[in-house]
Symmetry: C2
Subunit: 607 residues, 2 copies
């Protein structure tokens, strides 16, 4: 996408990134050194147990990543950084506000817009300045909103006034568990995550988004009455259609690359400005009084309280009750945040800088602690948005592939193939986005937020949710199974395995998704991280008994395959079926080879 | 589409159609004989002037077509006929009712649902039983509705009570002009119609449909208030989305051919049943009271009057005033009806039976006369629906084209190419559809019609209108001009002519469309047929001065190129630029060769 333009702007960057390691003496190449040094292979005795060597992962993360810090700033002076900042501001804040709206209504109005903005800004500042993986966007997710209001439902059965302090303690315990996990190098186990579970998770997130979108509109109908309810439905549907078509056009071969680039980069911006304006057209539309985002006084908590909660006043009994809840939060973040980091540094991006999972998880413990004692919703890695950030920083080129044919069509077929040429790896866009969030907390901008109709958030849910469902490999396998056989290209790897095995594979995924979605609708919702995490051992221990190695190689792949990233996780994983990495993910590989990369739309978990 | 299924059902038909001519002695092959005999070439003296040889065209039409009458019935015993009857019933009645709704409100409630159904049924009976071209579906068009209410606006300035009788006389004069045109063989000039004007007309019709759809919804908002207004918008948008996606899926390579065939055949049926049901779900949806189709007592005129109008009581002055109006109606039908017949027998359909324009235009005069004195809206050929009828009778096969490549992708590329194998040419589906229309006029079915929300018709307008715009060659040339050059296949014929010439060509078309659309919105609307007709001499006399022959060969083509059909029009046309037919329409030809035929969706004027 936007080939010429982006190549031009990126000119200043590519050399500088390559310079960094080369300027150092060959022997001291930081990534080579730590890539070798952080591992538990070929060691014997107590040294092979990672739990016995606390803080080793964090130490290596810092050592590996610190040399790149200066280049994280100097590399940022390109147009991509600006486009990325604007896009991410919208992609981050819109769903966050949407979830906050939901949380606000369902937690006795404890969490409001101010809290959400504060939390997002805090996370953006901490991770853009101190994070080892500044590409991972951290903020308010739908899952923490689900968590928060489910806990409210539980607490309200006893005494809803306990809720603020109980949440504070849940967060404090969660922070402690985070620090423990980070110290004892337990993030290493994330390398065992394969597409089997991460696709299921993506599908789950997509479905939850869609459900939330419908709930948002139903709420509008119930609370505000049919006029604004139906108008809200129209706005939500047309907002979805606008963003979707703009992004599709951005992926087409219409117009020039720079113009397509603008469409793809600013689809949310254009659509949001237009439909907010639309809902305020004087006359019939304005008279419908669609409900708008409720905001409160700038910089003050939604409830009349101090920012710092008096968490020390919670009865001791409840402090202990909060322990399992804290553990579940940690479990959720363990999967959610780390998968965000993995997808933000996924295989399709040509990344050069290393990752750092242990250090980031430690940092996440810190933000969890701060957010907890200030009564903010807990921020963590945003699964659908994290890869969008990297995407917005990627220099794409739509290359022309000419396939010579033996006969017909002028003896050639022309096909656009999108290639990711380079990524502007830096921490400035994340930081600027954080500044913009702080700016949004001020009075005037808060007033502007108040003009946004809630219906818009219904549309946001649909865009993000559908993006996650449409591009999901479960959907794509399903389309394969439903397609008429004779039109499928003969080199499609899925053809080489029995159809019932594909059914079985996606059947297991769908089962996992269905169970998790079902649980999310009940008061047992807080248990859903357990279900998600259970998919990992299911994949490593049970699945290999039901499928041959070849079948798994075609259908599955490690979600984390980038060597730079694996260095932080102790190297490539060892599975019962020992094979080479290049034998895996055949289906995906072929699709990328034929059609190139798909741009990440908000909501695409992968590909 | 639906290859196997359709081939199976069509087994009984293909031989029978081929048998008909072969059963006759070789010398008496009717089509060969009249194809030669009806021409004005190679004759001298007064005989070369078609006006001096009255009824010659009609005589040859009957002589050419009559031998096929029996096969028109026997050929009909296939599944295609059933599918076609159901599909055409919906595709005919839905827009007709939609326009009637519009007319009803704008003609002082003179034309109502009963009149529309009566008129459609009358036309269906006459043309299915007596027509030379039973594939041409005849009914209520948007243009006659535009005509009727514009005349009402004019008459109402003097005395709106004159309106019924004035309309009767307009129709009577129109009928007389029809008979004159048919007798003096003037339909022959239709062979000069090229895609230049027929595409412009298709675009014009599409835009008028879209405008009507919006007007329908605005009316609902204004008259019924915001609740039912906004709900109507939702129903219209989602109805559009339903039909559109069902038809797209029917054109995909998902599932088996028979299942895709069902989706494509019954997209309107499914969507209509669903959304009518939706609007009646008890509770909030039903409480919105979206307005429904107003119907009156079965078999009685909408106004308290006898069916036969006392047209002899109109003051003589007004009878003469009606002459130019009648002439304009004839002009409209001359273009509209004949283009319907041409597109119903367009080049992409492998038709074997001949056409008969003169006879059909004479018949149209008769139905015009009957409709006029009974106070019905005048029926004529339905431009967007006529090719849909032929499409619904066509046996499509989605063939697999394998393009061997010199390298990569398993050394071949697989591509689905849709081919029209045969057409079930018969008059039974048209007749059955007419019977269904008569059935719909009875009490119980009329009550069922009353359950249909007006909003649905907004959706119908969008589907039909967008279909006509999306598939229009103006749109496709525009997409070509906007596409990035390097991704265009090198054998694309449009590449061989200067871009500014393409801009000029579609610029002229757009100008014609814009002028006609603009006029349609004013009281001068009744003059729009003149504008449309003017496009034909513009094409034959002015355009060749601005474009080279080669450019026109690529971009334009005669709309009527089927030899069987041309026989009725006195053979292939002679243009200033004498060339062979196979040199024309290069762009279309290549597209068909590469991707096969597109199925006709309601609203596709061609391709």
């Amino acid at each position: 996408m936007a080939d010429k333009t982006r190549s031009r702007f990126s000119g200043s960057r590519v050399p500088s990134r390559q310079r960094t390691p080369n300027d150092l003496p060959q022997s001291e190449l930081p990534q080579e050194k730590t890539a070798k040094s952080y591992t538990y292979e070929n060691v014997t005795g107590w040294r092979q147990y990672r739990v016995l060597r606390p803080c080793r992962g964090m130490y290596h993360d810092i050592r590996r990543r610190l040399p790149y810090y200066w280049s994280d700033i100097t590399d940022a002076f390109t147009y991509r950084t600006i486009a990325s900042t604007i896009r991410m501001y919208f992609v981050n804040i819109l769903p966050a506000l949407a979830y906050t709206l939901d949380m606000y209504r369902k937690t006795g109005e404890f969490f409001g817009v101010t809290e959400a903005l504060f939390s997002s800004a805090l996370a953006a500042m901490v991770f853009s300045l101190l994070g080892a993986q500044p590409l991972t966007i951290v903020g308010i997710t739908g899952l923490i909103s689900l968590f928060n209001y489910t806990i409210y439902e539980i607490i309200a059965q006893y005494d809803s006034s306990l809720y603020p302090l109980f949440m504070a303690w849940t967060g404090i315990w969660a922070a402690i568990f985070h620090w423990i996990v980070a110290m004892f190098n337990l993030c290493d186990y994330m390398r065992y995550v394969t597409d089997f579970s991460s696709e299921s998770f993506g599908m789950y997130v997509g479905i939850i988004y869609m459900i939330k979108g419908v709930e948002e509109l139903v709420n509008e109908l119930t609370v505000e009455g049919p006029v604004s309810g139906y108008l809200s439905c129209i706005i939500a549907i047309l907002y979805f259609a606008s963003v979707y078509s703009l992004e599709k056009m951005g992926q087409s071969t219409l117009w020039k690359p720079w113009f397509r680039g603008i469409l793809a980069d600013y689809a949310y911006v254009f659509a949001t400005l237009f439909w907010v304006g639309f809902s305020h057209i004087p006359g019939r539309l304005q008279d419908a009084h669609v409900s708008q985002l409720p905001v409160t006084k700038a910089f003050y908590p939604t409830q009349p309280r101090d920012w710092l909660l008096d968490f020390w006043n919670l009865p001791v009994k409840w402090i202990f009750v909060a322990i399992p809840f804290g553990f579940l939060v940690m479990l959720l973040f363990y999967y959610d945040h780390n998968v965000s980091s993995i997808t933000a540094q996924a295989r399709q991006f040509p990344l050069k800088k290393p990752g750092g999972f242990h250090w980031d998880f430690f940092l996440l413990g810190c933000t969890t602690f701060i957010a907890a004692i200030l009564g903010l919703p807990l921020p963590n890695g945003l699964v659908p948005q994290a890869p969008v950030h990297t995407d917005s920083l990627t220099v794409y080129e739509t290359k022309l592939e000419i396939i010579p044919t033996a006969e017909g069509e002028g003896t050639e077929i022309r096909r656009p193939v999108v290639e990711a040429v380079a990524v502007v790896e830096q921490r400035v866009s994340h930081f600027l986005m954080g500044l913009a969030l702080i700016g949004t907390m001020t009075g005037p901008l808060l007033a502007m937020l108040h003009t946004m109709p809630s219906a818009l958030f219904g549309g946001v849910f649909f865009v993000v949710g559908w993006g996650s469902i449409e591009s999901n490999a479960i959907t794509q396998k399903l389309v394969f199974l439903m397609s008429e056989d004779r039109f499928i290209q003969r080199d499609e790897p899925l053809l080489s395995i029995p159809r019932r095995k594909i059914w079985l594979f996606i059947g297991l995924q769908v089962l996992g998704v269905a169970a998790t979605v079902a649980v999310s609708q009940t008061i047992a919702a807080i248990g859903f991280p357990v279900l998600i995490i259970l998919l990992i051992p299911l994949r490593t221990h049970l699945i290999p008994k039901w499928f041959t190695l070849r079948e798994l190689e075609v259908m599955d792949d490690f979600t984390c395959t980038n060597e730079q990233v694996l260095a932080s996780l102790g190297g490539a994983p060892k599975l019962p079926e020992h094979t080479r990495a290049q034998d895996w993910g055949l289906e995906r590989r072929r699709s990328e080879q034929r059609f190139g990369l798909q741009r990440q739309r908000a909501g695409n978990l992968r590909r």
